[in-house]
């Protein structure tokens, strides 16, 4: 597929003797919402950490290809460059906000790199050059835009730690979007949300893809979210890919059913015989 924004090839990650991810290959297409699913301990978060540079994979290649055609080998970039240069942003399963800073400040920190350049690497900023204050004003406007999209405008001047769980998740997505990513990786965005918040989240993710052309890669437990919004699903079990396709294809895949529901070995054979393996 030539329009892959992210191509993962033969990714393997070992921790000592434990193989968390085993020879995984998949593509995420540009403009798609790609979901990585799998039971607990299947290695989903490890895949994410490899893509976003927090782990260095034992083997394999992860290629990010931007709109302009520039390609980056993510496994070779230091983590902060993945966000800055390769334009891959992420959120965390256990939300990592700057809880002592206000909601607005969280979004300004996300615009660190452009603001840093505008402040003349602080020198112009200390001298109080007007160009920096203009840049900061624009940054605040951009933050306000995302606050509006997440319904957080009223909470802009509250500490992020004061927000309830759902708004914290939304803020983390807004913060990631403030880095202007081409690929946004979401680690269990719907975890802990109630059904109503889940729907709002789906809408937000669709909006991001539609209006900003950002491709999404998400890990999810919540099948309703996955089936509802994703275009493409990759299923992991014990670090290995067991299925890859559209939501409906995956839903019908007996191996996926077996992995999720857990069946006896004899039944696996039976199921496998049925599908002709």
């Amino acid at each position: 597929m030539s329009d892959a924004i992210l191509r993962v090839e033969h990714l393997t990650m070992r921790f000592g003797g434990l193989v968390a991810v085993n020879d995984l290959s998949f593509d995420a297409r540009r403009g798609d919402i790609t979901a990585v699913i799998g039971p607990n301990g299947a290695g989903k978060t490890t895949v994410f950490n490899c893509i976003t540079g927090f782990y260095k994979p034992t083997q394999g290649r992860i290629t990010m290809r931007q709109k302009g055609g520039a390609e980056f080998l993510l496994e070779r970039l230091p983590d902060f460059r993945i966000a800055r240069t390769a334009k891959v942003a992420r959120t965390f399963q256990n939300i990592r906000l700057f809880s002592g800073m206000t909601v607005l400040e969280n979004l300004l920190v996300a615009q660190h790199n452009p603001l840093m350049a505008a402040s003349g690497w602080s020198i112009g900023g200390i001298l109080g050059l007007p160009s920096y204050w203009r840049a900061e004003k624009q940054a605040i406007e951009k933050a306000a835009y995302w606050l509006d999209k997440c319904g957080l405008t009223d909470r802009a001047d509250d500490p992020a730690g004061d927000l309830a769980y759902g708004p914290q998740r939304a803020l983390e997505i807004a913060r990631a979007m403030c880095t202007e990513p081409e690929l946004l990786c979401l680690d269990e965005p719907a975890a802990g949300l109630n059904p109503r918040e889940s729907l709002v989240l789906n809408e937000l993710l669709r909006f991001i893809r539609r209006e900003h052309g950002t491709s999404l890669l998400l890990i999810e437990h919540d099948m309703s979210v996955v089936m509802e919004i994703s275009d493409h699903v990759v299923v992991l079990d014990y670090g290995t890919k067991i299925s890859d396709g559209t939501p409906s294809q995956v839903r019908e895949d007996p191996k996926v059913i077996a992995a999720y529901l857990g069946v006896d070995d004899s039944e696996v054979e039976k199921v496998e015989a049925e599908v002709g393996l």
Binding site: T45, N49, F54, Y55
Partner: protein, 305 residues
């Protein structure tokens, strides 16, 4: 070669003292994750308690058997130092448990300042020297005009260290108290839910660390014969280095680290320069923390994303 053996003996002696202090650091760090900054000064206070106890016993009460006197001194020093450490934990650390992470550290630094200045005010700033005791030595080898000696003091230090470490190891490994300590180390909340009295266990950990520091203090007094109010900081930092080198949280590691630091210090002084021996110790501390923060016997710490 003779010089080497002599330095080996001296290094093991010094290392025993460091190891005993290091256990106090490693246990407290293991159980509440705090660098007990005042531990070096607790050690210094114990040298003074031992000094006073020895003077009272020998000059006032006329105890003539030096070994008997030292045994009593050791017990007195352990009891009073433990009490001091218990009080410090109760007053300066316990109210801060579970609060702001820096607060206990600052409180501990404050306590360290209090202890050294209290001793300075109460006992004066001058060095306190006792008449040398247990001066006899065994000459192990006299080849080449250089005597390799092993003094009674050194034998005493090694024997006491090994004996007390054995008792201590037994307490930590085999008794319900030791089990409670290990449980608190793993997960304090869970231990409390399972009926472990966490506050008491932590108190006892401080007491045990202080008791071993008091042993080190008594042995230090016997070995050097001089004590001073400012002698807490440097041995304290070196013992902490030992704890880190061995792997903080690991008891055998603390002893091993102590021996290594003692040996390194002694050999460095003998073969390179006495002036820079503390620089060597501090450099080792920095290098170990930077390049192998888990130490020799410690568990590696993995960063969770």
């Amino acid at each position: 070669m003779e010089v080497f053996f002599q330095q080996l003996i001296n290094g093991v002696t010094l290392g025993s003292i460091y190891g005993l202090i290091a256990i106090g650091y490693t246990m407290v760090f293991g159980i509440i994750g705090m660098v007990n900054f005042s531990h070096g000064d607790v050690f210094m206070v114990s040298t003074f308690i031992a000094l006073i106890a020895l003077m009272v016993l020998t000059t006032w009460l006329g105890v003539s058997s030096i070994l008997l006197a030292l045994l009593i001194v050791l017990i007195i020093a352990m009891v009073f130092t433990s009490l001091i450490s218990w009080t410090i934990e109760r007053v300066a650390y316990r109210p801060l448990r579970g609060s702001f992470r820096l607060a206990p550290l600052i409180s501990a630094i404050g306590m360290s300042i209090v202890l050294s200045n209290f001793v300075q005010v109460a006992q004066g700033p001058r060095n306190k020297a006792i008449d040398p005791i247990l001066n006899s030595v065994f000459v192990l080898s006299a080849a080449g005009g250089y005597q390799v000696t092993l003094s009674y003091k050194q034998i005493l230090i090694m024997v006491v260290t090994v004996g007390l470490l054995a008792i201590f190891w037994w307490v930590v490994a085999k008794t319900p108290l030791g089990r409670a300590q290990r449980a608190c180390e793993q997960d304090r909340k869970m231990a409390a839910l399972l009926g472990v009295d966490v506050d008491r266990t932590i108190s006892i950990t401080f007491v045990m660390g202080a008791a071993l520091a008091a042993v080190a203090g008594t042995l230090y007094l016997v070995y050097y014969g001089v004590v001073n109010f400012s002698d807490g900081f440097t041995p304290g930092v070196k013992a902490f280095t030992a704890a880190v080198l061995g792997g903080i949280g690991s008891l055998p590691g603390a002893v091993l680290g102590g021996l290594l630091i003692g040996l390194i210090e002694v050999f460095w002084s003998a073969y390179f320069s006495v002036e820079y021996k503390d620089v060597a110790a501090f450099s080792i501390l920095a290098i170990v923390l930077i390049f192998m923060p888990q130490g020799i016997l410690g568990r590696p710490d993995v960063e969770k994303v």
